[in-house]
Symmetry: C2
Subunit: 143 residues, 2 copies
DNA sequence: CTAGGTGCAAAAGGTTTGCGGTTAA
DNA sequence: TTAACCGCAAACCTTTTGCACCTAG
């Protein structure tokens, strides 16, 4: 029996004119399975466990398709590999400079507090915070 | 006579233990001169007009030094070259997907509206908006 | 004097592309 | 049937690194 996320994936891909393929299903399931904002490389390695012959190019293609159809968000990290996140609620990201982990941060819509100049058409907002996560702060060696 | 920004640069670099060099002065002056959020490559080409023998590695080093001492901000753009901005007021950035230009966007401090989990230590906020700028919207072919 | 900076060239890292073969619709 | 997709490998672009020489403090 098809699970509900598989149906939703099929429908969402089809809606924007993209095909539903087994590779795209695997990639999406990998993202849903462990919500740790993996890089394309990590997604590749995890997907490979299910489909050993899958290629990096295909993983990029699949991630791209998922972003295009609105099921996945990209998280940009300065000069490091892009992370991928299947949480489509409006939220920000906290990047820990020390351990490299990425955390979802709940927030109000930023649209209200930002003064978009007239004539500009905003399509996407991205709020990212960098610093040190709780764990890394705890492990700090005192003075 | 030394201009005030040159003195400020010297002092600010020195304060964090970095040296004031002619290359760093040139790079900073390039950023102050045209406020169009240039890439490292563009900074390199502009700096080269004053110092033909300057190298890309040095431009990166100088930009890095300027960021470290707090005179310059980096603007991350998804999968494209980092842009550099000498405007140190708290502000966001609008990236036009069509023409690639970057615009400063005034905004209230995002710190208030974001719910940082306890124990997390935020160091830097970055708000970026992507979409279409006014010019690109105007030039759109109707129908 | 010497730690830090510069210039060059080579390498790294992440992502994209070209192409022949495959497959969903 | 056929446009879209896959897998592979090579290319690409931005950034980093190693090293010999140079220079600010």
């Amino acid at each position: 029996m098809r699970t509900s996320w598989e149906q939703k994936l099929d429908q969402t891909l089809t809606k924007v004119g993209l095909r539903s393929t087994s590779q795209r299903q695997i990639v999406y399931s990998v993202l849903l399975d462990v919500r740790d904002h993996p890089t394309a490389e990590t997604v590749f390695l995890r997907a490979k466990q299910a489909v050993p012959e899958i290629s990096m190019a295909t993983v990029y293609n699949c991630l791209d398709a998922l972003v295009k159809c609105g099921l996945v968000t990209q998280v940009n990290i300065h000069r490091a590999a892009t992370r991928f996140c299947p949480n489509m609620q409006e939220h920000g990201h906290f990047y820990c400079d020390e351990c490299g982990k990425v955390f979802d941060i709940s927030m109000a819509s930023p649209a209200g507090m930002i003064n978009i100049p007239s004539g500009f058409e905003p399509l996407q907002y991205e709020v990212s915070i960098s610093g040190r996560c709780a764990d890394c702060r705890d492990w700090e060696i005192p003075g």
